[in-house]
C-alpha cells in the first residue's frame, strides 16, 4: 500500500491505493463472475462457426440419400475386438428386413473398416455459391456408417442436415432482433424522449400488440404469406413477422431507461454545464443504456429462434426444401416414426442448448451492464 501525501494547495489529500479500473474493465469482471455466461460464449461461437462453415463441416450434402433410411446413430470407435485402433474406424452396415416385425434392422459388419479421415473428398458443395469444393473436414469413405445422429426416412444424414439447418435457425434470430432493435430503439426513444401524447400513443400500440397471444398472432401472419414465395422470401417474411411482434419489449426497455436516466442528477448537471440536447443524448444517455440494450437484445434472440422453430414445426413457417431446425423437427411429429427413430428429436436438443446458451449469456451481460452498483451495503 503506497500512501502519497504530497502537500496540495487547498488541503492535503491522501490517495489510497483504490484500484483504478475503467468501466469496461469493471464490466468484464462482473461478467466473468458468471461462469455459465462465459461458457455460453464458447458454445454460441461454436454454433455460429458451424453455421458459417456448414458446407465443410457437414460430412454429407443435406439432400444426399445414403440408401440407409432410419439408420440409428453410429459413431466411429477406437476399440475393435478389445484392441486399440487409431485413427478411429467406422464399420460397414448391411440392411435386412425382419420377417416377423417387418422392421428394418441394421447389422454392423465389423470386418469392413473405414478409418475416419480428415479433409476427405465427398459430396460436392459450395460456400453460398462461392468456392466450390468437394472437401469435408471429417468423414469416412463411401460405404462406412458415419451417421453421428442417425439418418431420416429418406436415408439423409441428420447431423449434416442439422449443421446446414443452423444457418437459417441461427440467423433468423439475429436478423429478427436487428429489425426489432431498430424499431424498438426508435419508437422507445421517441416515446421516452418526447413524452406527452407521442408517448401515450406508442405505449397504447405496445399494449395492443402485447395483448395478442404471440403464437396465434404469428400463425395468422404466417398464414398470410403468399404460397408461391421462394424460400428466401418466406425466410424474410417470417423474420419481419417475428420482429414486428418482438420490438415491443425492447421499446419498453429503451423508454424505461430513457425516462429514468433523464431524471439522473448527472443529466441535469450536464444541462447546467450548457450541453445541448444532442450532446446529452450522445454523450450521456446512449452510453449509459447501450449495455442494457445489448443485454436485452441477447435475451430476446432465443425467443426468435424458438418462434421460428415452432412455426416451421407447425408447418406454417419454412417448409422443405428450406432447412431449419424447425423443418427437421417436422419429421419427428409422427409417433410411429419416433418409436423407430427417436434420434429425429435431436434437433430439438440443439434448440434447447442454443436457447439456454443465449439466456445464460444475456443474464451475464445484464449483470455486467451496471458495473457501478456499489458492492457495500448501506
Amino acid at each position: 500500500m503506497s500512501v502519497d501525501a504530497k502537500p496540495m494547495p487547498a488541503t492535503r489529500e491522501l490517495v489510497h491505493a483504490t484500484p483504478v479500473e475503467s468501466p469496461l474493465t469493471l464490466m468484464w469482471y462482473k461478467f466473468r463472475a458468471h461462469r455459465l455466461a462465459v461458457w455460453s460464449i464458447w458454445v454460441i461461437a461454436a454454433l455460429y462457426l458451424t453455421a458459417i462453415f456448414a458446407n465443410w463441416i457437414a460430412p454429407f450434402d443435406p439432400e444426399t440419400r445414403t440408401g440407409l433410411p432410419f439408420s440409428p446413430p453410429s459413431w466411429p470407435t477406437v476399440m475393435v475386438d478389445g484392441a486399440f485402433v487409431w485413427p478411429p474406424v467406422a464399420f460397414g452396415v448391411s440392411q435386412q428386413l425382419d420377417r416377423k416385425t417387418f422392421k428394418r434392422v441394421y447389422a454392423i459388419d465389423t470386418t469392413q473398416r473405414y478409418p475416419v479421415q480428415l479433409f476427405i473428398t465427398g459430396d460436392r458443395h459450395s460456400w453460398f455459391g462461392l468456392f466450390p469444393s468437394d472437401m469435408h473436414v471429417i468423414g469416412v469413405d463411401k460405404g462406412g456408417a458415419f451417421f453421428l445422429m442417425g439418418t431420416d426416412s429418406l436415408g439423409r444424414d441428420v447431423f449434416s442436415r442439422m449443421v446446414y439447418g443452423s444457418r437459417i435457425s441461427l440467423s433468423i434470430g439475429l436478423v429478427g432482433v436487428a429489425i426489432s432493435l431498430v424499431l424498438g430503439v426508435i419508437l422507445g426513444g421517441i416515446s421516452g424522449y418526447f413524452g406527452g401524447w407521442v408517448d401515450l400513443a406508442v405505449q397504447r400500440l405496445i399494449e395492443i400488440i402485447q395483448c395478442f397471444p404471440s403464437i396465434p398472432l404469428w400463425m395468422a401472419l404466417a398464414a398470410a404469406l403468399p404460397h408461391d414465395w421462394t424460400t428466401i422470401q418466406v425466410y424474410f417474411g417470417i423474420t419481419v413477422i417475428l420482429s414486428l411482434v418482438g420490438w415491443t419489449d425492447l421499446a419498453r426497455v429503451v423508454r424505461g431507461r430513457f425516462l429514468s436516466l433523464r431524471e439522473e442528477d448527472f443529466v441535469m448537471a450536464a444541462r447546467l454545464a450548457g450541453a445541448s440536447e444532442a450532446r446529452i443524448i450522445r454523450k450521456h444517455l446512449l452510453p449509459s443504456f447501450m449495455s442494457h440494450i445489448i443485454a436485452s437484445v441477447t435475451l430476446s434472440i432465443p425467443s426468435m429462434i424458438l418462434a421460428e422453430t415452432a412455426l416451421s414445426f407447425l408447418g406454417i413457417g419454412l417448409t422443405p426444401p428450406a432447412l431449419s431446425w424447425g423443418v427437421l423437427l417436422q419429421d419427428a411429429q409422427n409417433v410411429n416414426t419416433l418409436a423407430t427413430a427417436p434420434w429425429l428429436l435431436l434437433p430439438g436438443a440443439l434448440v434447447i442448448v442454443t436457447v439456454l446458451a443465449f439466456n445464460f449469456l444475456g443474464d451475464g451481460l445484464r449483470d455486467a451492464a451496471d458495473p457501478f452498483s456499489r458492492e457495500s451495503f448501506k
Binding site: 487547498a10 488541503t11 483504490t18 483504478v20
Partner: protein, 337 residues
C-alpha cells in the same frame, strides 16, 4: 453588504400529480409558492427547512434546471439586469456560465462512464472555445484549486471517495468561474471530517474568486458556520429571513424555535430543552389553510387557522429580520444560547 446579485420575486413551481392508469393530471403539488429572496453579491445565503419543503426546487428553479411556473429571477450581471425566468434558449446559455450548481449526491451527479478530465471539461467544451491544450491546462488548474492534482485526470468517478467526488463536482461547477453557485446539500452526504474539508474549500474559493453561494442544508450547525444570512423555508414558503446571528439567537417564528431546539448538542453536559412540536413532516400536496405551520404550532390561535401570515419585517428587531407569523413581536422565542 454590497449590491444585490439576484432578486427573486414570487417564484413558484407547481408539479402536476398524475394518477390512475391513464396518468391524467388530477391535482398539483405546490413545491414552492411565492418565494421572495434577495441574494447579495459575495455572500453565502443559507436555505434551511425539513425535507420536501422545497429547498432543492428553489435552487433548481433559480438556475432554470427546472422551469419555474411563475415569478421573476432578476440577475444583475456586470453587463446589466436580465430576468432569467424569461430568457430564451440561447440567452439562457449565456447566463449558464455565470450560475452553476453543486449537487447533494456525489455518486449520482457525475456520469460514471466519463473520466475526470471529460467531466470537468464538459462545461468548457459546451460554453467556451478553447484549444485542446488550453482546456487540459484549465482542467488541471481546477483540479489543483480543489485540492486534487493532474494524476487523477484519467480516473473514473467510482475510484474516488465521497469527499473526492464532491471536490470533482465543485471543480466542474467552478470551471466557468461563475458568479453564483447553488450548493444543494453539498456536504450532507459527507462525514464530518470530510465535510469540514469541503466547507473550508468553499470558503477558500469564495475568498479568492468572490463567489456568491446559495447554500442549501438541513444542518443548522453547518449553516451557522458557513452563512452570512439564513432563510428558513416551510411548505414552499420563506417563513423567516435574517442575518445568521439574529436568526439563531432570536428566532421570531415558532417553527424556527422548534427546529433549533431539536438539534442535538455534541456535549453530554448540555441538554437543550426541546420545544415539542406535534406531528410529522408537512406534506405540500396537502396544505393546511391559514398559517401552514398551525397544525403543529404550540402557540397557534384561532386567527392562525384562517389567515395566512405575510412575510414581513418584525417590528423592534435589530436590522432586517423578516418573519411570517402573526405573533412575531408578541412571542418571546428561545434561540440557541
Amino acid at each position: 453588504m454590497s449590491e444585490p446579485l439576484l432578486e427573486i420575486r414570487g417564484l413558484s413551481k407547481r408539479f402536476p400529480i398524475h394518477s390512475g392508469l391513464s396518468r391524467r393530471v388530477t391535482g398539483e403539488v405546490r413545491a414552492i409558492d411565492g418565494v421572495d429572496l434577495t441574494i447579495m453579491r459575495g455572500e453565502t445565503l443559507g436555505l434551511v427547512g425539513e425535507s420536501g419543503c422545497g429547498k432543492s426546487t428553489t435552487g433548481r428553479a433559480i438556475l432554470r434546471a427546472i422551469e419555474p411556473t411563475e415569478g421573476e429571477i432578476l440577475f444583475h450581471d456586470r453587463a446589466g439586469t436580465v430576468d432569467v425566468a424569461k430568457l430564451g434558449r440561447d440567452e439562457l446559455k449565456r447566463v449558464r456560465r455565470r450560475m452553476q450548481m453543486v449537487f447533494q449526491d456525489p455518486y449520482a451527479s457525475l456520469n460514471p462512464r466519463m473520466n475526470v478530465e471529460a467531466l470537468i471539461a464538459e462545461p468548457l467544451i459546451c460554453l467556451e472555445h478553447l484549444t485542446h491544450r488550453q482546456r487540459r491546462d484549465r482542467v488541471v488548474e481546477l483540479l489543483e484549486l480543489v485540492g486534487l492534482n493532474a494524476s487523477y485526470l484519467l480516473r473514473y468517478p467510482h475510484t474516488f471517495s465521497g469527499g473526492q467526488r464532491q471536490r470533482i463536482g465543485i471543480a466542474r461547477a467552478l470551471a466557468l468561474e461563475p458568479d453564483f453557485v447553488v450548493c444543494d446539500e453539498a456536504v450532507s452526504a459527507l462525514d464530518v471530517s470530510v465535510q469540514a474539508q469541503v466547507l473550508n474549500l468553499l470558503s477558500d474559493i469564495q475568498e479568492r474568486l468572490g463567489t456568491t453561494y446559495l447554500f442549501i442544508s438541513h444542518d443548522l450547525g453547518v449553516i451557522e458556520h458557513q452563512c452570512d444570512r439564513v432563510a428558513v423555508m416551510y411548505l414552499g414558503r420563506i417563513v423567516e429571513f435574517a442575518e445568521t446571528e439574529a436568526l439563531l439567537r432570536t428566532p421570531k417564528m415558532p417553527y424556527v424555535e422548534a427546529l433549533l431546539s431539536a438539534v442535538p448538542e455534541p456535549d453530554p453536559h448540555v441538554r437543550r430543552e426541546r420545544v415539542a412540536i406535534r406531528g410529522e413532516v408537512a406534506d405540500p400536496a396537502n396544505r393546511p389553510s391559514g398559517c401552514p405551520f398551525h397544525p403543529r404550532c404550540p402557540y397557534a390561535q384561532e386567527v392562525c387557522k384562517s389567515t395566512v401570515p405575510a412575510l414581513r419585517q418584525v417590528e423592534g428587531a435589530s436590522g432586517a429580520h423578516l418573519a411570517a407569523c402573526h405573533f412575531a413581536e408578541a412571542l418571546s422565542l428561545r434561540g440557541v444560547a
